[in-house]
């Protein structure tokens, strides 16, 4: 009974922190800009569909390729990374800069719970900003007179949603760790996402396994230029191994972030 009480109490604390984070982080003008980027991705799906339907160019890509290109570049390589970088690095940093962290740390809640609650909010925000774009893009590209491709490629859509959700969890955990540990987390995050991952992914040898993108590319059904290049210099990791590694990474990053939040002294500048 005591154990179930503490689990219920822990879950209530997580939800409270997540709701507070959603309220402060999500409901702000900045979310409008992120939403605008998501809409641009949808607009690209519209352009791809228009090219196909209106036969504007002789070599228009089929819906599956357009969808694949959008998912591998705009969504996986940009939108997921951007959303998790933007919100993930802000989870703790925003509280420190806004000097509101004191209010949270002065409550009878373990600090790791605060970190986990905020991560929960990040996953929720990321899912809202990204997954509907994936589903809407699919609808824009596939819905038509002939619905056979729509149902034939439905498994691809489900797989994409699952992998993109995993990507949100993985990048979200990593950038949350950066935000909890470092002062200039945005710069380091940008250098990692658009520098390190871009360069190392195409290097031969073991270094590719030191990126999140390598494991995501190994299970992603679509390919882009970077993925094709990386294939030239090395093999993908087996799907099961990739998924297990990603899950382990998520657990490790979040656990480390929780430990840092627990032990670090956050000095709020006066």
């Amino acid at each position: 009974m005591a154990e179930s009480d503490s689990v219920a109490k822990g879950w209530r604390n997580l939800k409270t922190i997540a709701n507070l984070t959603l309220d402060t982080l999500f409901w702000s003008k900045k979310t409008l800009f992120v939403g605008l980027l998501s809409l641009i991705v949808l607009a690209l799906a519209g352009v791809g569909r228009a090219l196909l339907v209106l036969h504007l160019i002789p070599t228009a890509l089929p819906a599956s390729q357009v969808f694949g290109t959008l998912m591998s570049t705009a969504v996986m390589r940009f939108l997921v990374v951007f959303v998790t970088l933007f919100y993930g690095t802000a989870l703790i940093s925003e509280e420190v800069e806004g000097k509101t962290l004191t209010y949270l740390f002065m409550r009878p809640i373990p600090k790791p719970t605060i970190m986990l609650g905020k991560y929960l909010a990040l996953v929720w925000i990321g899912s809202i900003m990204v997954l509907p774009v994936v589903m809407a893009s699919y609808l824009i590209l596939y819905v038509g007179a002939d619905m056979r491709p729509f149902f034939e490629d439905l498994n691809v859509l489900c797989r994409d949603i699952g992998i993109i959700f995993l990507a949100l969890l993985a990048y979200g955990a990593f950038f949350s760790l950066l935000g909890a540990a470092l002062k200039h987390s945005i710069l380091i995050g940008l250098a990692y996402a658009f520098g390190w991952e871009g360069i190392v992914a195409v290097l031969p040898g073991f270094t590719r396994k030191l990126t999140i993108t390598h494991y995501l590319q190994s299970i992603f059904p679509h390919e882009d230029t970077l993925g094709a290049l990386s294939m030239l210099v090395g093999d993908r990791t087996a799907p099961l191994e990739s998924i297990v590694t990603l899950v382990l990474m998520i657990v490790l990053f979040i656990a480390t972030a929780s430990l840092i939040v627990r032990e670090k002294e956050y000095v709020l500048e006066q």
Binding site: N13, I17, L20, T24, T100, M106, P108, E265
Partner: protein, 307 residues
């Protein structure tokens, strides 16, 4: 008096800067004024007491337990920080409710506590207004409200009167005094000495990271030997009185006011001085108009110990 907050050989440094230097103190029930010039270490001490910082050396205990990462204790501690920072999008009621949800209260209890805290700080009429639209005084009050809403046993208030109008200050001073008499431990930090004096006579005086004095301000004053007590007397014949006083060995000096109707005497034994004064006045047929001790107060203690 049982110690609720105790520091033993407590030190805190940031790199080369020593913010607190081997500080030992005990604080029990009642109101304690934490005083000191800028850079004395008051904020650092408050952050150590509230578990926001970890001691570099020594220990700090609250309710007999180490406070660092001891989250269950925070249910019994309330902290009103100095910084003017909030979740601006929230209304006052939402802000209190969100924070109270992190305590082990049910929803009904939370609602009652929000109402009670807002009423205590006179913010009931603006409970549904966004904090971003609050005036400075209202912001200070809502900060205080979040510190008291869960009815803590120890309250740490960092400059609670900052930005408040005179009526607001009076209300908060009365509240603090009431909490002290109710048996709570209230640690108040302020730069405005006469306001601290209005709240309490028990002080913890700090300077350069060390505790200079601890206890009742009058007792501390008595112990400051190198500064004799000043006694200001306005009477009908000040020079006659001076002639009578000058023969006593405890009288260090006598100075006449420019207007010529008063004198200020300095004595190292104020009790004896006060004891002989009525007889001297009667013997010399002197009418007493006013007698004050300009430096038997916090300001004087602060000045004499710090400078």
């Amino acid at each position: 008096m049982s110690a609720l907050v105790e520091g033993k050989t407590l030190s805190k440094w940031y790199g080369q800067i020593v913010a607190l230097n081997n500080v030992t103190f005990t604080i029990g029930q009642g109101v304690v004024g934490l005083l000191g010039p800028n850079g004395a270490g008051k904020s650092t001490l408050m952050k150590l007491i509230t578990g926001q910082l970890r001691p570099s050396q020594g220990e700090i205990t609250v309710f007999g337990e180490s406070i660092w990462n001891n989250f269950p204790l925070f249910h019994r501690i309330g902290f009103c920080p100095e910084q003017d920072s909030f979740y601006e999008r929230m209304t006052g009621a939402e802000f209190l409710s969100a924070l109270l949800h992190m305590h082990p209260f049910g929803d009904a209890e939370i609602g009652k506590r929000v109402d009670s805290a807002l009423e205590t700080v006179n913010l009931s009429s603006v409970r549904d207004k966004k904090i971003a639209a609050y005036s400075k005084g209202m912001r200070q009050r809502i900060k205080l409200a979040q510190a008291i809403a869960h009815d803590p046993d120890v309250m740490v208030l960092d400059e609670p009167l900052a930005g408040m109008d005179p009526v607001g200050r009076r209300d908060i001073i009365q509240l603090v005094r009431r909490w002290g008499t109710e048996g709570k431990c209230v640690i108040v930090s302020s730069h405005i000495l006469h306001e601290v004096e209005a709240m309490t006579s028990t002080i913890l005086l700090m300077h350069n990271g060390k505790v200079l004095a601890e206890g009742d301000v009058h007792q501390i004053r008595d112990l400051i030997d190198r500064h004799p007590h000043s006694i200001h007397i306005r009477c009908s014949k000040p020079r006659k009185l001076a002639e009578a006083l000058v023969g006593f060995p405890d009288v260090e000096s006598i100075r006449f006011d420019p207007e010529g109707d008063a004198l200020t005497a300095e004595s190292r034994q104020p009790d004896e001085f006060y004891g002989r004064l009525p007889e001297l006045m009667l013997d010399n047929d002197i009418e007493l108009e006013e007698i004050t001790s300009p430096d038997d107060n916090l300001q004087a203690v602060f000045q004499y110990l710090v400078k």
